[in-house]
């Protein structure tokens, strides 16, 4: 990897954002944070990112809504987007993928698995 992978983490829970930041920044990723889907959209309008990691259940605009909005435009159509999910059932996976997610991270996450998931989708 020649340049730092930039990641936007979207979660309404400060502790989850802190955990993600802790796990990713320690691995050399450039991590930014947004507290919900709307904040993420505003941030993305002015910043570039390589991977988006988003929670599903959030106020104002939830994770699926965020993905939908991002996939609508051409700019993020092929952007890797990982969702944070507390379930790993096939049903939830199918729903996440149908919503346009590239992949998922099961909460609670293992930092190594998190990093592996990010690497799996980022160039």
């Amino acid at each position: 990897m020649t340049t730092t992978t930039r990641i936007l983490t979207v979660d309404d829970s400060p502790s989850m954002r802190a955990l993600l930041n802790h796990a990713l920044a320690g691995q050399g990723f450039d991590v930014s944070q947004a507290e919900d889907g709307m904040a993420a959209l505003d941030w993305l309008a002015m910043n570039e990112v390589d991977v988006v990691i988003t929670d599903i259940n959030m106020p104002r605009l939830d994770g699926f809504g965020l993905i939908e909005r991002l996939r609508e435009g051409s700019r993020h159509r092929d952007r890797p987007i990982l969702v944070l999910t507390t379930e790993s059932s096939e049903e939830k996976k199918a729903r996440a993928r149908a919503a346009g997610a590239t992949g998922w991270i099961v909460k609670p996450f293992d930092p190594e698995k998190l990093v592996a998931a990010v690497r799996r989708v980022s160039h």
């Binding site: 309404d12 829970s13 400060p14 502790s15 989850m16 802190a18 955990l19 930041n21 802790h22 959209l41 505003d42 309008a45 002015m46 929670d55 259940n57 959030m58 106020p59 996939r71 609508e72 435009g73 051409s74 700019r75 159509r77 092929d78 952007r79 890797p80 987007i81 944070l84 507390t86 379930e87 790993s88 059932s89 096939e90 049903e91 939830k92 996976k93 199918a94 729903r95 993928r97 149908a98 346009g100 997610a101 590239t102 992949g103 998922w104 099961v106 909460k107 609670p108 996450f109 293992d110 698995k113 690497r119 799996r120 989708v121 980022s122 160039h123």
Partner: protein, 733 residues
């Protein structure tokens, strides 16, 4: 940030979540049982559960899991909200609060088994299946991070035997591969895979997966290209390549499977050397209509009829097997059935259209002749007239193409603009199937590009300005096309800041385009941006060019026989409207008499026509004059002089003045004897039939069979005004 600090954030957050959940439940008790309130409670509990799992508070996580499952049922409407349920949930919330305190202080968690049982009993899912989630939940806490296959067994929907089977199979396969590894003859195992089209959706990149397999120790043995079709039947979205990989024995099949976890069925995997390469999945497969997979299994799992796990299990299984394939089949929209078509040389087509033009003229001549002889209202004439019009329209339609071919280039322009200006713009397109003449389409690209660049560069504000103005950070560009009364209207609208009229006027005065004391209407100020040499950009950017753009745009549109107008609202955006003829072969014209000649003035140039009062005409030298049109002086050009017509009037009061707008020479008033008609004329090129004549744009045949010249207003006016030098005036005097 240390782990303790993050935990401190978590506990602070727990307090907030508990407070929010409590407020929500209180509101529920007051009767506010809407989705938002229930969702707020759910989110509070859900958020605690997420953190509890992350920090390993098993008891807290188990309790929140049960509570959350019930709340999820309430939210989905499968459990009705009753007074007693709210009380139960309030009790649960108190216990949750105790759990949080215990976790924070590292004390013994509260006894909650009775309450968990109550919560479980309240769930719809457990109508016929009581205690399972209680025991499943703590399992979830401890195993979710272990392996994905173990996760499957701990899902909320009451694991069936199939999951255990999967798990055992994986373990078994691991064992087998381990045994193979011990045999020195067969140190490696093989698998084949094919990535289908849908594997590339949603930001997935199969190449990265191949790379990951290589990182695991896999070696690509063969890349199967046998399915790659000849180039002319090549579909870009289809996965034609297959790969076979070999792995050392110590790599487990589960590890390889996990790489493809994200894409599911969109990559077909075949393990073992005996399996053949999976088939290519062609997008043309008729889409199988499968009910939305998620609700199916959810209903089966939580519905009161799903009394036994035996029933629930196949539903989950279906979801696994059919869900992804159904999605991938839906993914590429079925291509529209291609209509049959033939290719025609363009000049053959033009000959046909030319002949149809003659037919229209001949029909008009015949109608005029017959009406003179008293046969105007015969049925046959009406029929022929209708048929002629139909033939003409059909012939024009052959040359017509949807404007979508121009519009489809716009996203790319916007992408380029986004990278050079940093402004991200959303595009809304409508009417892309609107058809117009091929030549018009070909010549429309340039002015359209200019207008779009202009809209993004000057119209749409930078994201921070937009947010400050209360707009969304991303600008919106609206592009639309529609037919209206025989012409086509193309609109290019932005939701930007609108035209800054003060600045435009100041700039125009500075450039000497208008007099400093001039009082202009809003519309007149807007039109100034089309003046040659006008540019309001403080700094010349490489996007909108150097102020040559907008006047060229207007010229291009005029050349197409069209018009361009502006509507701008400060703060909310600007819309440019292009009104274009459907074809260049027919044009709207004003038929005028000048002495012994009949001429056609293109309607695109005409602003208004008027009969002046004597005091509005001002003499200039011996035989020149100006006319005062609402405070603005416009030179009068007798059209007879320009075309050498005999017997025409030379006094503005005796004839009619047609005020025309020209590109290079501003406005002028053409003096003609009378306006006879305003009609569509079939344009005949003078170049091909005679030769190019300055001041004449072409010719047409009128209904009475006479040939009329179509005036090239631009060149005629500029030539006429150029000759009116002081020397020429003095000579004439």
């Amino acid at each position: 940030m240390t782990s303790e600090e993050i935990q401190a954030i978590f506990f602070a957050e727990c307090e907030e979540s508990l407070a929010a959940a409590e407020a929500g439940l209180a509101a529920c008790k007051e009767g506010a049982q809407d989705d938002d309130t229930v969702n707020a409670v759910f989110r509070g509990v859900h958020s605690i559960k997420g953190g509890a799992g992350a920090f390993g508070y098993t008891a807290l996580q188990a309790f929140t899991h049960t509570f959350e499952t019930l709340l999820s049922d309430v939210r989905d409407g499968t459990v009705a909200i009753t007074e007693s349920l709210i009380d139960l949930m309030l009790t649960a919330l108190d216990t949750l609060s105790d759990h949080v305190t215990a976790a924070r202080d590292s004390t013994e968690p509260p006894e909650d088994s009775a309450l968990q049982a109550d919560l479980t009993a309240a769930m719809a899912a457990n109508a016929g299946n009581t205690a399972a989630p209680v025991t499943a939940a703590p399992e979830a806490a401890s195993t979710t991070v272990e392996t994905t296959s173990a996760d499957n067994s701990s899902g909320e929907n009451t694991s069936g035997d199939d999951f255990d089977l999967d798990f055992d199979l994986d373990a078994l396969l691991d064992d087998i591969s381990g045994e193979i590894g011990d045999t020195p003859d067969q140190p490696r195992w093989e698998m084949r895979l094919r990535a289908h089209a849908a594997a590339m959706r949603n930001g997935s990149e199969p190449l990265l997966m191949l790379r990951e397999m290589a990182d695991l120790g896999g070696t690509c043995m063969v890349c199967d290209i046998s399915s790659v079709p000849p180039l002319d039947s090549f579909e870009v979205g289809t996965g034609y390549f297959g790969w076979s990989f070999s792995f050392p024995a110590e790599v487990s099949e589960a590890a390889v499977r996990e790489i493809f976890d994200f894409v599911g069925d969109d990559c077909t995997l075949a393990f073992g050397a005996d399996n053949a390469m999976p088939d290519v999945r062609y997008p043309a497969v008729p889409a199988k209509v499968v009910a939305e997979p998620a609700p199916t299994s959810a209903n089966a799992a939580v519905g009161p009829t799903a009394s036994a796990p035996v029933e629930a299990a196949p539903a989950v299984n279906d979801d696994h097997d059919e869900g992804p394939s159904a999605r991938s089949q839906q993914a590429p929209p079925a291509p529209p059935a291609p209509g049959q078509s033939i290719r025609i040389e363009l000049n053959k087509l033009d000959k046909l259209i030319d002949a149809v033009g003659e037919l229209v003229i001949a029909q008009a001549m015949m109608a005029q002749r017959l009406s003179g002889d008293g046969f105007a209202a015969t049925d046959e004439m009406t029929l022929i007239e209708g048929l002629t019009r139909d033939i003409q329209e059909s012939a024009m339609a052959i040359r017509a193409q949807p404007i979508g071919s121009v519009f489809s280039r716009v996203p790319r322009i916007l992408r380029e603009l986004a990278s050079s200006t940093g402004k991200h713009v959303r595009l809304e397109v409508s009417g892309e199937s609107t058809e117009l003449d091929k030549t018009v389409i070909e010549r429309l690209g340039e002015p359209l590009t200019h207008l779009i660049r202009n809209a993004v560069d000057h119209g749409i504000e930078p994201a921070d300005e937009r947010i400050a103005a209360g707009k969304s950070a991303e600008g919106t560009l609206t592009l639309s096309a529609e037919h209206r009364s025989g012409r086509i209207l193309i609109r290019i609208g932005d939701d930007g800041k609108g035209i800054d009229r003060d600045r435009v006027l100041a700039k125009a005065i500075e450039k000497g385009l208008v007099a400093p004391e001039a009082i202009l209407t809003k519309e007149e100020i807007d039109l100034l941006i089309f003046a040659p040499g006008f540019s309001t950009a403080q700094q010349v950017t490489n996007v909108s060019g150097r102020g040559v753009g907008m006047d060229v745009v207007r010229q291009n549109v005029k050349d197409l026989g069209g018009r361009i107008t502006i509507e701008s609202e400060p703060g909310s955006g600007t819309t440019f409207t292009l009104t274009l003829p459907l074809t260049l072969a027919i044009s709207d014209g004003m038929v005028v008499n000048v002495g012994d000649q009949t001429l056609v003035v293109p309607l695109a140039n005409v602003v208004e026509s008027l009969r002046p009062e004597p005091d509005e005409v001002q003499g200039l030298g011996a035989n020149r004059c100006m006319i005062n049109v609402r405070g603005r002086f416009i030179p009068v050009i007798p059209l007879s002089e320009a075309v050498g017509a005999i017997g025409a009037t030379s006094h503005p009061q005796e004839g009619v003045l047609i005020v025309v707008e020209t590109e290079g020479a501003g406005r002028a008033a053409l003096l003609v004897d009378a306006i006879c008609d305003q009609r569509q004329v079939v344009i005949k090129s003078l170049d091909t039939h005679y030769r190019s004549v300055e001041g004449v744009a072409g010719a047409t045949i009128l209904g009475d069979g006479r040939v009329a010249l179509i005036v090239d207003v631009d060149s005629l006016v500029s030539r006429s005004l150029a000759s009116a030098t002081p020397a020429a005036l003095a000579e004439a005097a």
